[in-house]
Symmetry: C2
Subunit: 204 residues, 2 copies
DNA sequence: ATATTTACAATCATTCATGTATGTTTGTAT
DNA sequence: ATACAAACATACATGAATGATTGTAAATAT
């Protein structure tokens, strides 16, 4: 049994992969570190060596998922964009495609949204997700504000309602898709939904 | 200490109320029957007398929540309707208003959607919710099919994508609202979202 | 070559929730 | 008045998960 640096990094990775699978199957609270260890082919000792506790495993999992679309949006926010609504539309559809094809991201996403309990005083994990969501909302809001200042937001919509409505729909789309066991074509529904919503937000 | 039939029914009710509060605060897996008993001012013995286990408490809670809108939709499905999309719109907005004002329903809803883990083999509770969701979807689908057969569904939408998109948006709306701690005006966002979606589904 | 970490495995003590079994009081039927 | 059942409380037995401690082989530093 060798224990080189690379070996350690490898077992750490294997623990994370096993954790993703076990969390995905049993939910967070239904997953013991023992189960994860068994799946990874190690003992709990190994897990406790690399991570402080279950929460830290989840943190590590969550930090692995970074949507490339964030970069695009951030760029637009810094440099401005002549069609912010179009950017939202394009970026969102991109995200749908990415998520539809990346199983690992689906798993992590499912764990965070479906396999996690949101309570009055949220767990570390839940708090992390809430924060990420809030950040996403702010970006959306700023982009829509940009569109509004360009006179491109349809009357009837306020900046806040538009941002909220859009965010709710997107999160709902992914949540429902994963909850239903991917029983419908997210890409089709997602594209139609995005285009329809953004369409109704465009001043004609 | 009297133990008449009415007393028993009363403690049963108090247990359910306490359960709603505790589940809401700590999530389902984070709530022990001991905590619920303490909150209700009884011992676990009392709970085990009225309910088989935790799952049965949840079942009782879930069966308490019946949206009156279901009746309207069912009626339309049986007797037909000359404006199915309008019916969906109206009924949905009604539901938004009801949920926005009924704290108990919000709590139960929050418990079921946010305080419950959806896993590969779902718990009784999760399964119940999935089933309820599927039933809702079927109704939506039939109503939209009705609209389609009347030539009132806009091109670009299929019956399935339309039903899915709508359901995702609505569920997302409530989930986000509750998850965010009711930090925005559901009624405003909901009305705008519903009208916008239904609007885009109407053949002009 | 030896000392010291590293990277785990193995064991143990403790907590906590559950389910069950039993005890106790009160209402109710006869 | 008595017997029985309803409506709980109390006590216990069990199992699962956690966190901490200890042991140890191999890798690395000196």
């Amino acid at each position: 049994m060798r224990r080189t640096k690379e070996d350690a990094a490898k077992t750490r990775e294997e623990v994370l992969i096993a954790a993703a699978a076990v969390f995905y199957e049993n939910g967070i609270s239904g997953s013991s570190l023992e189960k994860i260890a068994q799946r990874a082919g190690v003992t709990r000792g190994a897990i406790y060596w690399h991570f402080k506790d279950k929460a830290e495993v989840l943190t590590a999992l969550h930090s692995e998922i970074r949507l490339p679309q964030e970069a695009i949006v951030d760029h637009a926010l810094e440099h401005g964009h002549d069609d912010p609504l179009g950017l939202i539309e394009q970026a969102s559809i991109e995200v749908v495609h990415i998520l539809a094809n990346d199983e690992q991201q689906q798993r992590v996403f499912a764990i965070m949204i479906l396999g996690c309990e949101f309570t009055e005083d949220p767990s570390e994990t839940a708090q992390r997700i809430i924060t990420a969501n809030a950040e996403m909302y702010e970006k959306l809001q700023k982009l829509i504000d940009m569109a509004d200042q360009q006179g491109k937001l349809a009357s009837g919509w306020t900046i806040d309602t538009a941002a909220r409505a859009f965010q709710c729909s997107m999160n709902g789309l992914f949540a429902e898709w994963l909850r239903s066991g991917k029983s419908f074509a997210v890409v089709d529904v997602g594209e139609k939904l995005v285009r329809s919503l953004i369409g109704s937000m465009r001043r004609s």
